[in-house]
C-alpha cells in the first residue's frame, strides 16, 4: 500500500515537473514605470503614442484582461477592444488616475445624448408638445435600454440618425459605419505608423473625424471645407464614368469656395472649445445652449466666450492679438469687425453670419416614407427590424441664405 502511494506521488510529481517545464515563460517580468507588472508586454509589441506609452501605462489599465497571466486565454479574459466605448469608459479612460471627470461630462454632452435631434424630431412629428422643454428621456442612453420602439419618430431616429452619437459601437457595423462612433475615440483616434501596430490618440482632432458625422442636415462639415452635396447626378462623365468626387456613403459632392477659416488652416477644434464638444457638465436640449463661441469672441474680443471661458488659440503678441492654430501652430492676425459697416446703428440687429455667410445648402421639401414590408438596420439596437425608411426631397440648392429673426438678432434661416 505504502509503495503504491509512493509511486502515485512520484507520478504526480513527474507530471507536475513536465507541465511546469512546458509552461510558456517570459524571459523577464515586464514592469511599468509605476511599478505594475504587465505581462502583456512580453508578447505585445504595440506602441501607442507617448502620453499613453507602453512603458508608462502598459496595456491592462486601458484594455483590461489579466496582466499577471502569460497564457493567452487567461490573460485575455475580460479584454476590452475599445476602452473608449462609453459603456466601459468609467473604468478605463475615466479611471481615477487618468481622466476621471470626463465620462460624466461626455455622457451629458449633446454628441452623446443627441437630445436636440430626438426632441426636435418628436416635436416636429407631433409626438411631444410643441413648447420645447428639457426632457431627460430624449437621450440615446435611454433608447439603448428600450425593449421595444415606442414611436414612429424614434423608429426613424434609430434607423436613419442612429449612427451619429458617441454611444455608437465602433467597428460593429458594416461599411463606412464601421469607422464611426466609439466614445472618446470617435474624435480622438488617428491612424498610427504601421510599425507601431496601434492607432494614436490625439488632442489635435483632424477635421475628418468631425465630418464623419457633421455632413448631413446643415452639412456644415462639408460647406466649411468647400464641398457641396449636390443633386446627386455625379456628372460630368469622365472616361465613361461619373466624374464627381463622392463621400464614403456614396453621395456626390462638388467643390465650392471654402470657409475663410478653413483656408487659413483652422479646423473645428480651433473654434469649438472642449466644453462645447465634450460637454461642460450640464445637460442641454439644443446646440445653441451648448455652443459658446461667437465670431466676436476672437474678432473684436479678447478670446473670451459668452460663457466666460478663454479660447486657447487667442494669444497676445506684442500689442496685437493673434490666433495660433492647434494643428499647425500657424500664427494668424485677428481682425476686428469693420467699425463702420459692422457697427453701424442700422445694422445693430445683424448677426455676423447674416452678411458673412454667402452661401448655404438648402433642401426644400423633405419627404419620408416607411414601408413595413421591408426591414432596416436599427443602429441603436444593432438589430434588423421591420419597417424601412426612405428619404427624398423636392429639390436642393446652394444659394444665398434667407434671413429672419431669432429674438432680436437677424440670423440665417433654412428649411429643415
Amino acid at each position: 500500500m505504502k509503495r503504491l502511494v509512493l509511486l502515485f506521488g512520484i507520478g504526480l510529481l513527474l507530471v507536475a515537473l513536465v507541465k511546469e517545464g512546458l509552461r510558456k515563460r517570459a524571459s523577464q517580468v515586464p514592469v511599468t514605470t509605476s511599478g505594475q507588472v504587465e505581462m502583456c508586454l512580453s508578447c505585445h509589441q504595440e506602441r501607442p503614442e507617448k502620453v499613453h506609452s507602453r512603458e508608462v501605462i502598459g496595456c491592462s489599465p486601458c484594455h483590461g484582461g489579466d496582466p499577471l497571466r502569460i497564457d493567452k486565454h487567461l490573460a485575455h479574459r475580460g479584454l476590452i477592444k475599445n476602452p473608449a466605448d462609453l459603456r466601459v469608459v468609467d473604468y478605463t479612460c475615466g479611471a481615477p488616475s487618468c481622466h476621471p471627470e470626463m465620462p460624466e461630462r461626455v455622457k451629458k454632452s449633446l454628441m452623446a445624448t443627441n437630445r436636440g435631434i430626438i426632441n426636435t424630431l418628436r416635436r416636429y412629428w407631433g409626438e411631444i408638445p410643441e413648447n420645447p422643454r428639457f426632457r431627460e428621456e430624449d437621450d440615446v442612453a435611454v433608447l439603448l435600454n428600450e425593449k421595444s420602439v415606442s414611436s414612429l419618430a424614434l423608429d426613424y431616429f434609430r434607423k436613419l440618425c442612429g449612427s451619429c452619437h458617441l454611444w455608437f459601437e465602433k467597428g460593429k457595423f458594416p461599411d463606412f459605419l464601421g469607422e464611426k462612433g466609439g466614445g472618446c475615440v470617435a474624435c480622438h483616434l488617428v491612424p498610427g505608423p504601421k510599425e507601431a501596430k496601434h492607432p494614436r490618440l490625439t488632442r489635435k482632432i483632424p477635421i475628418q473625424n468631425c465630418v464623419r458625422c457633421h455632413n448631413r442636415s446643415g452639412r456644415i462639415g462639408l460647406t466649411y471645407q468647400g464641398l457641396y452635396e449636390d443633386e446627386g447626378y455625379g456628372t460630368p462623365y469622365i472616361e465613361g464614368d461619373f466624374g464627381e468626387p463622392f463621400l464614403v456613403d456614396g453621395r456626390f459632392v462638388r467643390e465650392i469656395p471654402a470657409d475663410v477659416h478653413f483656408k487659413a488652416g483652422l479646423v473645428c477644434i480651433d473654434c469649438h472649445l472642449a466644453e462645447e464638444t465634450m460637454g461642460d457638465g450640464k445637460a442641454y436640449t439644443h446646440f445653441e445652449e451648448s455652443v459658446e463661441i461667437e465670431c466676436v469672441t476672437c474678432h473684436g474680443g479678447d478670446g473670451t466666450t459668452r460663457k466666460g471661458r478663454k479660447v486657447s488659440g487667442v494669444k497676445k503678441q506684442g500689442n496685437q492679438l493673434v490666433f495660433i492654430t492647434k494643428i499647425d501652430a500657424k500664427v494668424l492676425p485677428l481682425k476686428a469687425p469693420d467699425a463702420l459697416k459692422c457697427r453701424h446703428k442700422v445694422h445693430r440687429r445683424l448677426s455676423c453670419q447674416a452678411c458673412h455667410a454667402s452661401r448655404v445648402p438648402q433642401c426644400f421639401g423633405c419627404h419620408v416614407r416607411r414601408d413595413p414590408r421591408q426591414t432596416q438596420l436599427d443602429k441603436i439596437s444593432g438589430q434588423e427590424t421591420p419597417g424601412a425608411w426612405e428619404e427624398f426631397r423636392s429639390y436642393q440648392r446652394l444659394e444665398e441664405p434667407t434671413l429672419g429673426l431669432k429674438g432680436d438678432k437677424i440670423v440665417i434661416l433654412v428649411p429643415g
Binding site: G126, L152, H356, T402, G404, V414
Partner: protein, 139 residues
C-alpha cells in the same frame, strides 16, 4: 411623411414644413448691400421677382407656383412668408420668425437707393436717415 400598410397602401400621412436657424460655416467677404436689400429670397419671400409699384407698394411674383396640388401646399415651397405677413411654415424655435411686412418694406426701401448710393462709402448711407426724402427718385 407617409406610412404604408403591409399591403403597400397609404395607411397614415402627415405634413409639416419647418424652417430652422443655423451658421452655415461658409464665412467669406460680406454679401453686398443689394444681396440683402433687393432680394426676395433673402427676405423670406422665396424665389421670384420683386417690383416697386410706387407709394411704398411692392409686387412679388413667385418663380414657383403659388399653390401646388402635388405638394398639397398653397404657398411657394421656397417661401417663409409673403408681403402681407402671412407665415407659411413652422419654425424650429419659439423665438424665431420671418421678417414682418414693415421690416421687409424698410429693408427694400434701402435697396431703392443702392443704384446711386451703393454702400457705406457714400455719405447718404453712412448717415442713413429713414425720414429723409430722395430729391431724385419719386417714392
Amino acid at each position: 411623411m407617409s406610412i404604408l400598410s403591409r399591403e403597400g397602401e397609404l395607411k397614415k400621412k402627415f405634413q409639416r414644413l419647418t424652417w430652422s436657424f443655423m451658421d452655415p460655416h461658409s464665412t467669406s467677404k460680406a454679401r453686398t448691400c443689394k444681396d440683402c436689400h433687393t432680394s426676395a429670397k433673402t427676405l423670406g419671400l422665396g424665389y421670384g421677382i420683386l417690383s416697386y409699384q410706387g407709394d411704398g407698394r411692392w409686387l412679388f411674383r413667385s418663380a414657383e407656383k403659388e399653390k401646388s396640388s402635388l405638394l398639397e401646399i398653397d404657398f411657394p415651397l421656397s417661401a417663409l412668408t409673403n408681403l402681407r405677413g402671412q407665415r407659411y411654415v413652422y419654425l424650429s424655435r419659439k423665438d424665431l420668425r420671418p421678417f414682418n411686412p414693415e421690416e421687409i418694406k424698410r429693408i427694400l426701401r434701402v435697396g431703392l437707393c443702392l443704384d446711386c448710393h451703393s454702400d457705406f462709402s457714400d455719405p447718404v448711407m453712412r448717415n442713413w436717415n429713414p425720414q429723409k426724402i430722395c430729391p431724385v427718385f419719386k417714392e
